[in-house]
Symmetry: C2
Subunit: 682 residues, 2 copies
C-alpha cells in the first residue's frame, strides 16, 4: 500500500508549523502561567506518558469491571510514585491530572479533605487529616440523595443525637433519602463526609441555613465510617454499592459513583464537624461564633479549579480538531494537487477559531480567579466579608458559563472532525462523556445563573440607594451612562479597541440587568416575578459573566507579555473571543439599542479578518498547550499528524476482529442466509 | 423503607393526566398519521416489547463482543418473526424500528436494496433483488474511504476493466483508499454496493459527474461479493474487519461499521450497476440515455426517512424529560407539602416546551415530505424533472436542520434531568450517542446547508431575470415586497396569527438570502465570495428551512384535525415553535429591520403565555407519542412515573455489585490503606 497520502499528515503539519508567526515556546509559558508551573507540568506529563501502567487508549474497549479494576491499579501506582519520589502536593496533583482518569482520588483530595479543612475544628482536623493525607483512610463526599440534589434543604438523611450514649444515629428513613451519586463511594471509600438533618433536643434543625446545593457553605456535616479497615466490608447498618453505568464507554465509568443507606448507624458525637456549630454533651445545638462565611473560601477554590479545568478540557478538544482540520482534505482539487485542507473553509474556521479563543480566555479568567481566591482568604482571615457576595456571584456564574461552553465546544470539535470524530479513537467521544457532568455537579448550571441574577438585582437596587458596587460589578455604578449612550463607531477597524469592546459588553450587561430590575420593581410579588422572568434574568447573568471574561482577557493583554509575536496573536484571539460573542448575542446588542445592525455587520467583517490572521498560526496556537499524545489520547490529534496509518492500525485491535469469521456466524447469520431459522434455536 | 415519596411519581403522573384538556387518543392518531399506520405500529411495538429476545436495558453493560453477538441474535429472531408471521413490508420495517438497535438490517434494507433498485438495470435487479429480499445475501453500502468522505470525487478505489476476461478488477491502491465506516460491512455482509473510479479503455472516468457525497445520485456503483456464502470467510483479495468502538456504551456499537480493502479482486462486468451508464464487452463507456435524475427519487426517500426518524428520536427524549420533570421535585417547599415539580420552573419550560413543539413540527414536515416523495416519483415517471432542484435543496436542508436540532435536543433533555440524566438507565445517553451521527452521515450537515444556499442564490438570480420560483421557494418571487414592508403589529396578541408568523419568516428568509445575493453579485469572483460569506449563506439556508417547517405546520393546522381540544393545543404548539424561533433568531429579524425590539418583546410575552397553556397538557402531549416503556428504555421516562424504586432496583444489577468487596481490593486498595505499596506488585 505504498502511497504519498500516507505521509501527507506529517508533512502538512510540518508545513503548518513552519508558517507560525509567534514564539511557541514563549506562548507555552503564558499558557502554563509561570515557569515554575510549567516545570512541574512538564515533569509530570512525561512521567505519566512514559509509564505503561497509565496506558489509556484501550479504555473504551474494557467492560466495566476491567475498567474499574484498572483504574484502581492506576490510583495505587500513582500513590506509589508520589511516595517513592517524594512528590510535592503540586506535583502529586499534577500527576493525577495527567493520569486523566476519574477516580476516588478526585473526591478524596478534592472534596473530602477540603470539607474537613473547612468544617472541622482544629482538634478534629488533627485527628482526621493525617490519616487522610497518608491515605490510611479513603474518603468521599456524600451529599446528594436519590430524591434530592439541587435543593439541599430537602435532604432527608437524619442524624439523631442520642445523649444516652453520646452518639449520633445516622438513618435513611425513606428510599428517596438514599445517598446517590457520590464518587468513590460505590466501591472504594472507607469514610465519607455526609450531610444530614440534625435532630437533637426534640428539634429538627434541618440542614441548617443553606440556600441550595454548593451555593453556600454547609454546617451540618458528619464523618461516617462506611467500610471496615480490616477487610473493606461494609460496616454494620451500611448498605452501599455502585449506581451503575453512565454516559460513555470509558468516560466517567472508571469512577464508582455510589449509593449508601444508613440503618441506624451510630457514630461518636465528635464525628460531627464542629467548626461552625456543635452539639454539646447534653444535646444542645450551639453556634460556634465563627462566622459562617469562612466556608466560602473552599467554594471559591473549587470553582477556580473547575474553570481552570474547563480551559484544559477545551484545549484538548481544540488541539484535536485543529490538527485534524489541517490534515483532513476535502474538495477543491486542482488537477494533480491534493484537496483543500478543511481548515481553509470559512465555516470550519468560524466554528473552530472562536473555541481556540475561548480556551485562552478561560485560562486567563481562571488565572485571575486564583488571585481572587488568595484575596478572599486574606480578607476572611481579617474578618472582612464585604466582597463575598460579589465573589460568590461571579464565581458561580463563571463556573456555569465556562463548563457549558466547554462541554458544547468539545462536542462541536467532534463534529468538526466529520465521521472520524465519532470513533472513540478520536479521543473526543470519551472527552465529552467524561466532561459533560461538570455542567450538573457542583451546582446545576441553570440554577447557578440565578445566583448571579439575584446578586445583580440586589446590586442594582443598592445603586438606586446610592451604594457603590465593587469588583466585577463596579460598572453597574455607571449604569446611567451605560444605559443611555450608544456605541459611536462608524468604521470597522474601530472595533479593534479594548475600550470599545469593554464598553459594549458593559452596556449590554447593564441594560439587560436594568430591564430585569425594572420588570421586577413593577411586579406586586418580587419572588413570583423573579420566577416569571427567570429566562431574562438568566440572560442578564450570562451577559454579566461574559463581560467578566472579556475584561480579564483585556487585563491580561494590558500586562507585560514577552515573546516574539505572542502579544500580537493573543490580541487577535481576544478580539475573536469578544467579536464572536457580539455576533452570537447580536440580538441583545440590537434590542437594547446599543448597537445598530450596521455596527454588528462591521463587527462580523472584523471577525473575518481576524480569522485570516489566526489561520497560519492555528496549529501553533494549539501546540502551545503542549499536550502529550498520551494526554490527548487521540489519533486525529497526534502531534505528528500521522492520522491514517494509525487509524488503520488501531482498528486491528478491535476485539471483534479477533476472529475473521464472527462469533455469532454459526448461530445467527448462517441460519438467516441458508433459510434455516425454523430449525435453529436462537 | 416505607415512605410516601416512593409512590409520589405514580400519583403525580396520574394527577397530571387528569388535567389534560384534549383527547389523547385522537392526538395519537394525528401523530401516527393515519389509522392504518397506527394499527401497524401498535401491533409491532407490542410484539417487540413482549419478546424477551428484544430486551435492551442491559445493553450499556455489555462488552463489545456480547453486544454485537446479541444484536445478531435479535436480527435473526426478527427475520424469523417476519417470515413466520408473514409480515408485510410495512410491518417488517416497523418491527425493525421498534427493536431499536442499529444493525446490518439498516444498511441491507435501507441502502443496499435501494441502491440496486435505483442503479441496476431491470435484468440486474431480477438477478440481485430476490436474493436480497429473502436474505440469502446480506448487503451493505460501501462508499466512504479512510481518506475521503464528503467529497466523493476524491474516492481512490479503482475498478479497472479487463477486456481479456470481461471483468472489472477492484483495487485499493493506497491506504487512504480503504473503505471505512460502512455499516454491516465489518462482520456481517456477504456483499456490498461499492463506488470506484472506472478505468477502461485507457481512461479514468472518475466517480463521474458527482458533485458530492449523498447530494447527487451516483453512476459508478459495483456489486462486490466480499464473504464466502459457504463459510463466511472473506473472499480472496478481500481484507475486511470492524473499525472499532464508537461513541457511547451501547449506542451504535451494535453495528459493525467496517473497513475493506480490495487487492485486485475480479468481479464480472455485469456487477457494474448499469441503469445509467455501462461498459461494453469491448470496454467502451456508454451512457444509457436514461436521465441521471431518476436517481433523485431514492435520495428524497432516504431524507424523508431521516426527518421522520428525527421526530421519533426527539419524541423519545422529550417524553423522558417531560415525565421526569413532572415527577422530579426541587425547592419551593411549603411546610409539610412536597417540593415544587421542576416542570413548574420557567427555565425548565422554556427549554423543554419548544422541544415538544419541534417534535410535532418535524412530524408534520416529515408527513409532507412523504407526499413530496410521491409527487417526485410521479414526475420522474413522466420525465418532468423541473421540480428536482427545489426538492433537492429543501430536502437537503430539512435533513440538516432537523437532525441537528434533534441531536442537540436529546442532549438538552438529558441535562433537563439533572444528575439522573447522566446515568445510562435514563435512556438518554445512549439515545444521544446512537442518534448524533445522523448529523454526519447522509451528508455532513454544514455541507448540506451549502446545497440549499446555492439553490437560493440561483433562484434569486432567476427572479432577477423574471423566472418565477416554485414550491418551497415560491415566496422569493415576492421578494420586492418582503424586503421592504416591515411587520406592523403593535399588540402582543396579533402574533397569534398564522399570516403574521409566515410573513415574518418569509421576510427574514428573503432578506437574508437577498443580502447574500447582493454580496455575491458585488464580488469579482463568485466562487471565492461564496466561500468568503459561507457563514452568512448557511444562515440564510437555515432561515429558509425554518420557514418551510413553519409553513408545513400551519398547513397542517389549516387541515381538518378532529378530536376534542386537539386542534386547539396543536395551535399553541405551532405558535410555540414559531415564536421560540423568533426569540432565538431575534438578531436576524432585528438586523434586517423587519421587527422592532418592541415587537420581539411582545413575541416573548406571547411565548410565555403559550407555555402556560402547554403546562397542564405537557404530559399528555408526550403520552400521545404512545411509546412503550420498552421502546423508551428509560427509568426516568416510565409511563407509570415510578422512578425512584426502579432506579434503586436497577443499581443492584450493576456488575460491580456482584461482590460486596470489590475485586481489586486486595491488589490495589488494601496496599494503599495499609501502606504496603512498596512490597506489592501492581
Ligand atoms: C457524574 C456525577 C458526579 C457526582 N458526584 C457527586 C458527589 O461526589 N457527591 C455528591 O453529593 N453528589 C454528586 N453528584 C450529584 C450532583 O451534585 C447533582 O446531580 C447535582 O447537584 C444536580 O442536582 P440534581 O441531580 O438533583 O438535579 P435537579 O435539581 O433535580 O435538576 C433537574 C432539573 O430541574 C431544574 N431545576 C431544579 N431546581 C430548579 C429551580 N429552582 N429553578 C429552575 N430550575 C430548576 C434543573 O435546572 C434541571 O434542569 C454527582 C452527579 C454526577 C452526574
Ligand atoms: C455512524 C456512521 C455510519 C456511517 N455509515 C456509512 C455507510 O454505511 N456507508 C458509507 O459509505 N459511509 C458511512 N459513513 C461515513 C459518512 O457518510 C461520512 O463520515 C460522512 O459523509 C462525512 O464525511 P467525512 O467523514 O469525510 O467528513 P469530512 O468531510 O471530512 O468533514 C470534516 C469537516 O470538514 C468540513 N468540510 C468538509 N468539506 C467542506 C466544505 N466543502 N466546506 C466547508 N466545510 C467542509 C465538514 O463540515 C466537517 O466539519 C458513516 C459514518 C458514521 C459516523
Ligand atoms: Ca462498554
Amino acid at each position: 500500500m505504498a502511497d504519498m497520502t500516507e505521509t501527507m499528515g506529517p508533512s502538512t503539519l510540518r508545513e503548518e508549523r513552519s508558517k507560525t508567526q509567534f514564539d511557541v515556546e514563549a506562548m507555552k509559558l503564558v499558557w502554563a502561567g509561570s515557569a515554575a508551573h510549567k516545570k512541574v507540568a512538564d515533569k509530570m506529563k512525561v512521567l505519566v506518558a512514559n509509564d505503561p501502567v497509565f496506558e489509556k487508549s484501550s479504555r473504551p474497549r474494557l467492560d466495566r469491571k476491567s475498567l474499574y479494576k484498572n483504574s484502581l491499579r492506576k490510583a495505587a501506582h500513582a500513590w506509589k510514585l508520589i511516595q517513592d519520589n517524594h512528590l510535592t502536593e503540586e506535583e502529586a496533583s499534577s500527576l493525577r491530572h495527567y493520569i486523566d482518569e476519574p477516580s476516588y482520588n478526585d473526591l478524596h483530595w478534592g472534596m473530602f479533605i477540603p470539607a474537613i479543612k473547612g468544617q472541622a475544628t482544629e482538634e478534629q482536623q488533627k485527628k482526621w487529616l493525617p490519616q487522610a493525607y497518608k491515605m490510611s483512610i479513603i474518603g468521599c463526599y456524600a451529599q446528594t440523595e436519590l430524591g434530592h440534589g439541587s435543593n439541599v434543604q430537602g435532604l432527608e438523611t437524619q442524624a439523631v443525637f442520642d445523649p444516652s450514649t453520646d452518639e449520633f444515629v445516622l438513618n435513611s428513613p425513606t428510599l428517596t433519602s438514599t445517598k446517590w451519586w457520590p464518587g468513590g463511594l460505590g466501591k472504594a471509600s472507607t469514610h465519607c463526609v455526609t450531610y444530614a438533618r440534625l435532630i437533637t433536643d426534640g428539634k429538627d434543625y434541618g440542614i441548617h441555613g443553606l440556600s441550595s446545593l454548593f451555593v453556600s457553605p454547609f454546617e451540618l456535616a458528619f464523618i461516617a465510617p462506611i467500610r471496615s479497615l480490616d477487610d473493606h466490608s461494609p460496616l454494620p447498618g451500611i448498605t452501599v454499592g455502585d449506581i451503575g453505568v453512565k454516559f460513555g464507554n470509558g468516560g466517567y465509568n472508571t469512577m464508582d459513583n455510589g449509593f449508601l443507606r444508613f440503618d441506624h448507624v451510630r457514630i461518636p458525637r465528635d464525628n460531627m464537624l464542629m467548626k461552625l456549630a456543635s452539639v454539646t454533651r447534653e444535646g444542645k445545638y450551639v453556634k460556634s461564633g465563627q462566622p459562617k462565611q469562612i466556608g466560602y473560601g473552599a467554594m471559591v477554590y473549587v470553582r477556580t479549579t473547575i474553570v481552570v479545568d474547563a480551559s484544559n478540557m477545551l484545549s484538548r478538544a481544540v488541539t484535536i480538531a485543529t490538527r485534524y482540520s489541517a490534515v483532513r482534505r476535502q474538495f477543491g482539487t486542482e488537477k494533480g494537487k491534493p484537496e483543500t485542507q478543511v481548515i481553509e473553509y470559512a465555516t470550519q474556521q468560524s466554528r473552530l477559531f472562536p473555541l481556540i479563543a475561548s480556551t485562552y480566555a478561560f485560562r486567563f479568567v481562571g488565572e485571575w480567579m486564583n488571585s481572587l481566591y488568595a484575596d478572599v482568604l486574606a480578607r476572611i482571615e481579617a474578618n472582612d466579608f464585604s466582597t463575598l457576595p460579589e465573589v460568590h456571584a461571579c464565581t458561580s456564574g463563571l463556573k456555569s458559563i465556562t463548563t457549558s461552553i466547554t462541554a458544547d465546544g468539545i462536542e462541536e470539535c467532534r463534529k468538526l472532525c466529520g465521521g472520524h470524530g465519532y470513533a472513540c479513537n478520536s479521543g473526543l467521544p470519551e472527552l465529552y462523556a467524561a466532561y459533560v457532568p461538570a455542567c450538573t455537579y457542583e451546582g446545576d448550571n441553570t440554577i447557578l445563573l440565578f445566583q448571579v441574577a439575584r446578586f445583580l438585582m440586589k446590586a442594582l437596587s443598592q445603586v438606586g440607594s446610592g451604594k457603590k458596587p465593587t469588583g466585577t460589578a463596579a460598572y453597574l455604578g455607571n449604569i446611567q451612562k451605560l444605559a443611555t449612550e450608544n456605541c459611536k463607531i462608524t468604521q470597522g477597524r474601530e472595533w479593534l479597541s479594548y475600550d470599545v469592546i469593554i464598553e459594549a459588553f458593559q452596556a449590554r450587561a447593564a441594560r439587560l440587568a436594568g430591564a430585569c430590575a425594572l420588570k421586577l420593581s413593577k411586579a406586586p410579588n418580587a419572588e413570583a416575578a423573579f420566577e416569571e422572568f427567570a429566562t431574562d434574568l438568566a440572560e442578564a447573568a450570562r451577559a454579566h459573566c461574559q463581560l467578566i471574561i472579556v475584561e480579564k482577557f483585556v487585563e491580561k493583554m494590558r500586562s507585560q507579555i514577552p515573546g516574539r509575536g505572542v502579544a500580537e496573536i493573543l490580541e487577535v484571539l481576544c478580539y475573536v473571543y469578544a467579536l464572536d460573542l457580539v455576533r452570537i448575542n447580536a440580538a441583545d446588542f440590537l434590542s437594547t439599542g446599543y448597537l445598530t445592525s450596521k455596527q454588528i455587520s462591521l463587527a462580523k467583517d472584523q471577525l473575518r479578518s481576524c480569522f485570516k490572521k489566526i489561520r497560519p498560526n492555528a496549529v501553533a496556537l494549539v501546540d502551545a498547550f503542549d499536550h502529550t499524545d498520551h494526554y490527548l489520547s487521540s489519533i486525529l490529534g497526534r502531534y505528528d499528524g500521522d492520522v491514517y496509518p494509525n487509524l488503520y492500525k488501531d482498528a486491528q485491535e478491535e476485539p471483534l476482529n479477533d476472529s475473521v469469521v464472527t462469533e455469532g456466524y454459526a448461530a445467527y447469520i448462517r441460519p438467516v442466509l441458508k433459510n434455516q431459522l425454523r430449525q435453529s434455536k436462537l
